[in-house]
Amino acid sequence: MLIPYSRAHTPKSVPWLIRLAILGLAALFPAPFLWAQKESRAAEIEAARKEKAQHLKPDEPSKAERTLLAIKEGKTLERISAGVAGFRLKLGGLVQGGGFAIGPEYLRQDLANGNLIFRSAAQASIKAYQRYDLQLTAPHFARNRLFFDVFAVHHDYPGINYYGPGPRSQKSARSNFRIIDTALDGTFGLQPVKHLKMGASGGYLATTLGTGKDTRLVPTDKVFGPTEAIGIDTRPDFVRVGGFIRYDYRDNPGGPRSGGDYLIQLDRFYSRPDSGNDFRRLNVELQQYIPFFNQRRVIALHARSVLTYPDNNHAVPFYLQPVLGGADDLRGFRPFRFYDNNLIQVNGEYRYEVFSGLDMALFADGGKVFHRHSQWNLHHMEAAFGFGFRFNVRNNVFMRIDTGFSHEGFQIWVKFNNIFGEERIRSSSFQ
């Protein structure tokens, strides 16, 4: 039996009656009391060590610990993410309402000594939505001064919602159409100073429209004619040219808590063959993050306006019009709820940290689509309110669950991206 050497100094007080009883027992039954106290403290410690030395065994972690260690040491998660020989699984990322998508992706980040990234993916969803893309990009060329990106994508989305044009479209007028488009975009830019990027972008877009596959809904072409769903009959190709300037000083784009991101993009779309659908499109997007209480609380503000300027006697086809509704703008409305030539959208979120891995958000969304530029104001906006959970790892949001309420009901969104993500400078409306 061992008595740790350290216990000798601790205060103790055994009642004298018990001591007396034990002494009596010791006199009557001496055997259990033959243990002898070591003469010295050092001897006591040595005895404890010798006792333990007789029962040594490898200090092996438990099975659970070994498993976790193997996962980390083997970089299992990283390997799954990286894939085999450049191939890996790509999950999600299709258009809203497309359902859960999965497919192979080929990724090479080691080309040209790591300066060039090549990526290509093919995905299909449980609702038979398909997307194929290919990308070649150099995000940090010439010591971060230049960047370029070439992106080709083909979509086959069999059931995009359309409710008719304008802010007064009826929820009950929900129809669906199929869109098959192929786009090739190129972007080249420079970063003259930190945070500031500017560049030119161009693309070619070929679109085919078809009858929506969602049999619960009426096909768009059965209820909306070319005067309402402009371009539903002509479906020209488009050439896009444009430019952009962006100032992004967010502290952490994966989960910003301070800073801002401002983008102005101007594009011109030429229909080919000329079908009376030429127009210019101005996209202005502002994000601002106002932290307080040491960034444990953040007010996130987002404003966006898209204005189109059709040429004389031209019109913007409905599938290239600005759209509102869904997980990224009006979260209390269905996806693609409102279409028109212009939109204005404002979002405000109050975020607070529950613990390091979870932030809560209370949000309010407002927005409207409108036909004439004179209607550019904050009147008669649709509104949505709600709350959300933001799960993050090392300050980067990897999943959010938002519940939005509006006069049209409520919507629950599970997204694996950050709200107010980067606006893509590309041709297709349905990324």
Partner: protein
């Protein structure tokens, strides 16, 4: 129920239930011939100790969602072990009494575990291993003299922050008694670095490939440069011996015969909580410890180290520390519930802390700092068991650092901005006082007991450090029976002068002085032993 009642209650129930086993304890003498033990006896040969790696994920989950190790039932306490009869920690493979017990000079403090092995930057430095652990970038190098180092860098956003913290804190922890590596700040140019053949690198995607010069260049692209274009790094000199990996803050190593005290009960680990609070070391977990199998005098034994102090003093190694760090665990159910249900209207005090706009400082402050509420990144079994007397012993060591000594150690961070140096030193000085105010009064803060000129002498640490005015204490002398632990009061002997009966006592006879202050729960009992003509202090018991 006060502490004394708790102790008595425990003994009573223990006595009733474990009657047959109490005999040896009853027969045991409170003090042995070699008490108080200044150092542990030489270790047993432990050459069969094998290296094994622990999972930091498991350690996190196990400590966050379970409660490993032995913990007292609610309302009870388990006194610290691994201490001598004075309540001090004997020198051992874990701990060496240093600054408090024999004040170190500034030169000694600055030297720390050593200062003669800085990397030789006059010649080439060879990368021999890529860093695979931790969050900050780095690698292992060998200098022209064949010395090996683990090298880490600062994040781009916070030059000097992590490297300074690594060096400064290593000196403090050394002075506080722990085994730590020699850490150095040094600078080098890119052309001094070369990669040895056959060095492999596992990239972020888990792919292993030969490490190339380009890998070094890419790593250095994410490292801040000094004004003269060089790279500043912290080099940790490789420890002597065979690496047998981390120790846990609970249990013992099953393959080490000398590891007989459960770690959650070791006073040197329990009170580490206070030191970590002072220095903002919330990353004090198993992954930042290291056991080395060393050989001395023909004996192999395990020496236990604390390593990696890059996440101290407001740094989180690769970024500034979170303001929540040190104030709440990564996950704390109660705190999370408060935040969740209050919709964020409940604002913790720490969220209002103010930090300087000094990149080299990270998030380190003293105003909101509350040493009693301080917690590490996730629960630690040893820290959870820290009792008032454990914290007191730590606090008196923290209070042993003077302002001048603190400033001298902070200077080792080699900050280019003097405001950063001043801020950290000022914070440490204020935090030191907070530690003293918080933990010294937890017990009767009397210390350094000795018999001088036939009087019992001691220091009132609260008065010494100006945390309280000089006070009077009630003293009651007793004879003490070392076999029965019975005290027989000596009537009228209530001064600090040794009673005549004690002075005239026979050899190896014991006496005791019960000292009380204003709070009757807080007492100190000082035990003395006559040996020859000398009377010496042999033990100290405290209640609170």
């Amino acid at each position: 129920m006060n502490a004394n009642t708790r102790v008595r209650g425990r003994a009573l129930w223990g006595g009733v239930l474990l009657l047959p086993l109490l005999g040896p304890g009853l027969a045991a003498q409170k003090f042995r011939s070699d008490d108080p033990l200044p150092k542990e006896p030489p270790p047993l040969n432990a050459e069969k100790v094998m290296g094994r790696k622990l999972s930091d994920y498991y350690d996190f989950a196990n400590n966050t969602f379970r409660k490993p190790g032995e913990h007292p039932p609610k309302g009870k306490t388990i006194p610290a072990r691994g201490v001598n009869t004075l309540g001090e920690v004997p020198n051992s493979a874990w701990y060496t009494n240093r600054h408090f017990h024999r004040p170190m000079s500034i030169e000694e403090l600055v030297r720390g575990p050593g200062n003669q092995n800085a990397p030789d930057t006059s010649a080439r430095l060879t990368v021999v291993k890529a860093k695979t652990e931790g969050v900050s970038p780095g690698f292992d190098i060998v200098d022209s003299k064949g010395r090996r180092y683990n090298v880490k860098f600062d994040p781009l956003t916070n030059p000097e922050m992590a490297t300074a913290a690594d060096v400064i804190s290593s000196k403090f922890f050394y002075a506080l008694g722990y085994n730590v590596p020699e850490n150095y700040i040094f600078t080098f140019s890119r052309d001094q670095i070369e990669v040895a053949p056959n060095v492999s690198l596992t990239d972020a995607r888990g792919k292993r490939h030969p490490m190339t010069e380009r890998d070094v260049t890419e790593l250095l692209l994410n490292v801040p440069r000094t004004s003269d274009g060089r790279y500043r790094a912290a080099a940790s000199f490789y420890l002597k011996g065979k690496n047998v990996r981390e120790f846990r803050y609970y249990g013992t190593r099953q393959d080490d015969p000398n590891d007989v005290v459960p770690h959650e009960h070791r006073r040197d680990l329990r009170r580490l909580r206070v030191f970590c609070a002072w220095l903002g070391h919330d990353d004090s977990r198993a992954i930042n410890t290291l056991d080395m199998l060393v050989e001395e005098n023909g004996l192999h034994f395990v020496r236990h180290h604390l390593i990696d102090f890059g996440a101290t003093l407001g740094s989180d190694s690769n970024r500034p520390n979170s303001p929540a760090s040190g104030n709440t665990y990564w996950f704390d159910g109660g705190s999370a519930a408060r935040e969740f249900f209050s919709l964020g209207l409940y604002v913790p005090r720490w969220a209002r802390a103010k930090y300087p706009s000094l990149p080299a400082v990270g998030r380190f402050e003293a105003e909101v700092f509350d040493p009693e509420r301080w917690v590490p990144f996730y629960p630690s079994a040893a820290f959870l068991n820290c009792l008032p007397d454990d914290a007191y012993w730590a606090a008196k060591q923290v209070m042993a650092f003077t302002d001048e000594q603190i400033r001298a150690l902070v200077k080792l961070g080699q900050f280019s901005d003097p405001r950063a140096e001043k801020w950290i030193a000022d914070c440490l000085i204020i935090r030191r006082v907070k530690v003293g105010k918080a933990f010294l009064p937890k017990v009767l803060p009397l210390d350094r007991f000795a018999v001088e000129d036939n009087r019992l002498a001691f220091e009132d640490l609260a008065a010494k450090h100006k945390l309280a005015a000089a006070r009077e204490y009630a003293v009651q002398w007793s004879r003490f029976d070392n076999n029965t632990e019975q005290k027989t009061p000596l009537p009228g002997e209530t001064s600090l002068r040794l009673p005549g009966q004690i002075q005239a006592a026979g050899d190896s006879e014991y006496s005791a002085a019960d000292i009380r202050g204003e709070d009757p729960k807080k007492t100190v009992t000082v035990f003395l032993r006559k040996k020859g003509s000398n009377v010496a202090v042999v033990g100290v018991d405290r209640t609170w």
